[in-house]
Symmetry: C2
Subunit: 481 residues, 2 copies
């Protein structure tokens, strides 16, 4: 499946993305419209995401569980905004076991409703609170226009669902989990994010508040990378989740939900990749280091020494906690292999040929700087964890610098329209959904969020309507995935 | 949800099972018939099963990936036996995104068909073989009679799907993965299993051969706990999975599939549990040790010393690699907590009261022997890994001794009928599916398997038909879940 060359990002970023997800063996088409096979190289990324996020959930007191995938369609109707948001996208089972069902069952697009039904049973007293649960699951939203990872009918995610005795604790949970997502994105994926709150128009269907992390892709569009919602008592009232409080009075709980999905793989691809292909963050990369032994099949003794050296180096690196692969495939030239591992974004590549063995060295190729250097074999394996950490830092800094260089400020609507063609734009906004809609119609940009630590809106008025600012801070406008 | 008492196993094993799965907080009912919520205590068991099995899959060269959940119904029709076996159980999506679908889509009951479609694309040359992939997924089979874990419309499992250049390698893979399952069951779950082959009547729909591990529950019924199939070229031909072999000739691959599901949680429950509740195998138990500090709220200094001792002990045990929980809940008596952790099957429980702290000791309660002993605090934490290993061994030996004591041999059909009421029975069988069916009708027992290392059938004839033995070895008859 090797491609001679990818479309350069500058020519057509969208084409580059659509090519690289296949060329790097991340996904493949499936016979069902809008759903994709996640191939082993892509799935390994997801496994590392899962493992690390899950550790963070557990460290913050959450437990995993599993709810059924099928939800009676009538459940969605109990929360007015929720049904409005999700019913157009439901996939519905009408027949099972050879018979028509009495009530159609939807494949979950998200699980607030069925979870609400059970929480009503499990929560009786304040002693049962907080309830801090999460599930890893597949969900389905029947989208018309789909793209691998970014928008697919079926996707994999986790959805946390918590219940609390009061609003303060629920809001604190919403904030805590947003920070978990932000920390994960930056610390593991080297993806810098802006933490912010969604405007009313962009909130989750049924939420009182939605927090988001937004990342800038290399085409300067935004990608919403994780969201955390304070649902107030909306679902508690719809599903009668109430409890006996410390004063022996009956009260409704306050709930949150928060989700992070395979969509984030799209964020990794588009935050870091370049014209040669993927650049994977070392802490999530399936292979952190690939060793390509250069054996030509002409001098068996020399080839044996090369293979022995490569295997010894790999073994030492494994001992040092590095995920390393020795590429021993026959029938491909070293150059072909170099290209493949570049395309697949392996952070560090080691090339070892007979002359390197004689000289006691190996060639280290850096996927980010695309530079090569010869290094002594002695101490090389032990240096790898540190080299990978520095690779992570350089990758993060590159993404952060790129983002920061592409955020501008607009004082007028004309400025907003002009600048939002080239990146993200801070501007004051009144908060009216109608104004947001009009701006989107004209510019294709939306309010990504009101950043939690963005510039103050004091003394400014809405660039679009001239009304007072709807928020204490300026909002971030951007075109988005 | 505390129950005053479980139905004793000897009175009604089935009632005991149906009570304990709820009383131990493993599952709960869901609003959709036949599907269950797996609660955190049950799901944690599954997480430990997953983590350990997955490590074994990777150590044997397999990679994970993910295929879409929805499969066009027409795909099932391409393999004649497969469609016959699975079409009665399909759940079918007919509407999505507010419209009727052109072709109905089934929720996967197993994924051979959609995987076959993709393997046909991925496999071109002998260099692409073997292909060793696995996925962790939810599947759906619309069963009429359901029971938690044992038979549910939706369940969680892994399904391995491999493709090979020839029959020998595929058969070897089938055998290797059965051995992985057997090793896992015995080494992690302390569940002894019989490795065997299914008769033609009990094979997977579409397989040439099916291997199985069978475990004996404490009511002496059998539970099929994992299966591994050699699919021959059936799916290769149905989905045109062919390759260019080393002689540059086109050939069909040979495929295998193998699966292990949440059903195995039922095997754990019924292999080890007793009238007081679950007994969990330490290597899979969510909590291997629970510490119950005995604080009465009368002497604050004494209570503080108890809590400090409990927390120090827990910290030392965590350092020793033990999964330990300190039960600090208010409002419940120590006795109530002891009962709960017994019911939930925690292998070892430590009780620490003020007098224990003064004496520098703690009381260790063993869930299997149900004995208590006082032990010095000094060295206690460090001794725990070894104590848990010995608990595992005692649990395994108890199950193995119980099973071995309940396997008999029958020389005649009368003997088979009589003995199969009380356990498993070895007997010679001709292999005719009609005879198997007749025996099942009369005795409710089935051929569980032809054990790989069972007694020879030499010089014997079928106990039912008097015909020659259908196999080199005697078969194992049993009533089964």
């Amino acid at each position: 499946m090797a491609k001679q060359g990818l479309t350069p990002q500058a020519d057509d970023f969208s084409a580059w993305y659509n090519e690289i997800v296949y060329a790097a063996d991340l996904v493949d088409h499936s016979p069902v419209r809008g759903s994709f096979v996640i191939r082993p190289y892509g799935y390994a990324l997801w496994e590392h995401i899962q493992r690390n996020l899950d550790d963070m959930f557990k460290a913050t007191g959450h437990e995993n569980l599993y709810f059924p995938m099928l939800i009676p369609v009538s459940f969605f109707e109990r929360e007015a905004q929720h049904v409005e948001g999700f019913s157009p996208e439901l996939a519905v089972v009408t027949h099972a076991g050879g018979r028509e069902l009495e009530e159609p069952l939807a494949i979950r697009p998200t699980s607030e409703t069925i979870i609400g039904e059970l929480y009503a049973k499990w929560i009786q007293s304040y002693r049962d609170l907080p309830l801090l649960y999460n599930q890893w699951a597949n969900v389905m939203r029947w989208e018309l226009r789909t793209r691998p990872f970014l928008r697919t009918t079926e996707f994999l995610w986790q959805e946390g669902h918590t219940a609390h005795a009061n609003a303060d604790e629920a809001v604190e949970e919403m904030e805590r989990m947003l920070e978990v997502y932000a920390t994960f994105a930056e610390t593991f994926a080297a993806v810098p994010v802006v933490r912010g709150e969604k405007s009313a128009a962009e909130r989750f269907a049924g939420a009182e508040r939605t927090l988001t992390i937004e990342a800038m892709m290399r085409d300067r569009k935004a990608l919403q990378s994780g969201t955390s919602h304070y649902l107030g008592q909306n679902f508690a009232k719809a599903f009668n989740i109430s409890f006996n409080d410390e004063n022996n009075e009956q009260a409704f709980v306050h709930t949150t939900s928060w989700g992070f999905s395979t969509r984030f793989i799209g964020a990794i691809i588009m935050s870091h990749g370049d014209d040669a292909g993927l650049i994977l963050p070392p802490r999530l990369a399936p292979h952190q280091v690939v060793i390509v032994p250069i054996v030509r099949g002409k001098d068996a003794d020399a080839d044996t020494r090369v293979m022995d050296t490569a295997n010894q180096l790999a073994s030492d690196m494994t001992d040092a906690g590095v995920r390393v692969k020795v590429d021993t495939r026959d029938g491909m030239s070293p150059g072909w292999k170099f290209n493949e591992w570049e395309r697949k974004g392996v952070p560090l590549r080691l090339e070892i040929g007979p002359k390197d063995v004689e000289a006691g060295q190996a060639v280290l190729a850096d996927r980010l700087s695309r530079e090569k250097e010869s290094l002594p074999l002695d101490g090389l394996a032990a240096s790898m964890p540190n080299r990978l950490d520095r690779f992570h830092e350089r990758l993060f800094e590159r993404a952060r610098d790129f983002r920061d260089a592409n955020i501008q400020h607009a004082e007028t609507y004309e400025e907003l329209k002009e600048k939002v063609e080239h990146g993200w734009v801070y501007a004051t906004h009144c908060g009216d959904p109608e104004s947001e809609e009009a701006i989107q119609q004209e510019t294709k940009a939306t309010v990504r969020c009101i950043p939690l630590d963005g510039p103050s809106a004091d003394g400014t008025v809405c660039v679009h309507t001239g009304k007072p600012s709807g928020y204490p801070r300026k909002v971030l406008f951007a075109k988005a995935y």
